[in-house]
Amino acid sequence: MTQIELRGIEKFFGAVQVIHNLNLAIADNEFIVLLGQSGCGKTTTLRAIAGLETIDQGDILIDGKAVQHLKAADRDIAMVFQSFSLYPHMTVFENIAFPLRATRMSSGEVDKSVREIARVLWITDLLDKRPSALSGGDMQRVAIGRALVRRPKAMLMDEPIGALDAKLREEMRAEIKRLHVKQGSTTIYVTHDQIEAMSLADRIVIMHEGFIQQVGTPDEVYSHPANLFVAQFVGSPVMNIAEASVTDQAGAATVTVGDAAAGFEFPRALLSKLNGHAANGGLTLGIRPEGVLVRRDAAPGYLPVEAHIIEPLGSFDIVDLQVGSKMLRARTKAGYVSGPGEKVHARIDPEQAHFFDTASGKSLGVRL
């Protein structure tokens, strides 16, 4: 039962402000992922919660109690580091037992707790080995075991699987999820990998340059990005972004991308929803590649376009289509567009289109 609340956190490194007025409430048993590029302040936020970093302003509340002045040891929080930080001179057993022995637990209880957690993590047969003899995945299992063994109030994870290779990362991702479901503890997880964030999080906190950009469930941040940064950071392949203008033509709305000769047809409702935004010109269209529909033959509403680069990605292809001077990336069935230079027809699915204010980058919240 642990709630964590961050209120008005500010943090400076010298003259550089790395966290700006950060507010976040984390519910009991929630899996929160702090997502952002390196240098966005996510790790600093995590270390501040752990007590490894001081904050210059604001409150960190654990179960309603302000802890920003407590030492790391007094906050009863466990942490898994990207570098694993296993004690190299101790066996796996001694590593996992360390937090228990440090607080003078009886040796019988230590033994029981360590073996129990080793069983959950499938590392029982590694207990006598030293960290140097382990694979990366096993090292991280041990590090997670060391964090879980004392049943902390909360688990903090700083890119725990960032140092592993791709296949192992996928395995460990599933395992962390399994453990969270099974053990259930409030978890804050830091990563720069949006796939990790999407697959693990109850809620994702997207950070950029020390500011929170958006807090929401994976579906919310994917389907309703709050601004251009979130729109382009979440989702792979990256969302298409283009300045666009909307005109009223023959009873339907037409969205023209950049300086293209012709525009895409949209339902008339767009005009009223945009509420005059089309007129002042500061409009940006965002459309994910799967929202760009491609056909070989002409059809009503489809514009003729030319294919440029084709990236085959196995189950699907990403095709660059030239629309005016802009490129729109579309997701097609594998091999649907045979090669560069081919003339095809494209349309934008109005239901998947996002509209942003070009100047502020904020979403206009218009959905069709």
Partner: protein, 301 residues
Amino acid sequence: MASVALTHLDPASRAAARGWSDLTIRNLFIIPTLVFLIVFNIFPLIYSLGYSFTNFAANRSEPWQFVGLQNYRELLSDDHIWSNFIITAKYVIVSVAGQMFVGFGLALLLNRSFPMKGLITTLLLLPMMMSAAVVGLFWQLLYSPSWGPINYVFGLGDFAWLSNPDSALYAVAITDIWMWSPFVMLLSLAGLSAVPQHLYEAAAIDRASWWYTFTRITLPLVSPILLIALIFRTMEAFKTFDIAYTMTTQPTAELIAIRLYKQAFQQWDTGKSCALAYIVLIMVLAITNLYVKYLNKVKER
């Protein structure tokens, strides 16, 4: 780590740019060193092993005779020599333990950032850069019974540190601790800064107290380098001559090296002295070997 055999000159090196070949480098640097080592170290070592089985005396021109193991037999049954060894053992234990304690303690204090850290570290290293004979003479002045600063500061009246049979050896050991603690400090600092910071962070998160972190993380991780410091200082302390010789003439402070010096260059008993030197060498080798075995065990982890 695999070692790389350097068979050819690195073509990018300055030596290669000057048109030197492997052969030039060998002739210039390695051959003189080897010749020097053979003439001044290896040859005397073997020659003195030969002398140790004779009654040779370097100041007499009479022919010498082969006496077999007689020198060794006499030395090992000589109570005087054994008391020299006991004095030396006391000295080694006190002085090396003191150096390890003071040196590692200083290193712990210095292993954080504070203003003028570099300057203070350099100043602390000065003693070990001095000549041992000079250090001995200076400390003789410091210990001086009637006007020495040590008695003045500690209010000990006219306590005669160096001519009191009970204190002379320890007075010399204190000087040795002063002189060589910086060496242990330097090695310890290197060891301490090699302990990754994130291990301390992990320990803090794991709720370990300062003492628990120190005994379970710092000490085990620094211990290999502490052992190396211990090996060096034990070997050196065993051979101590100059400090003790310049500071005191007390028989209770007569280390084995001083005994050896007297026997070789005052009594001119060259053959027997060679035998004694070999006994000392074997003892130092035996002690070092014990440490090295332990060191290898520690390093395996």
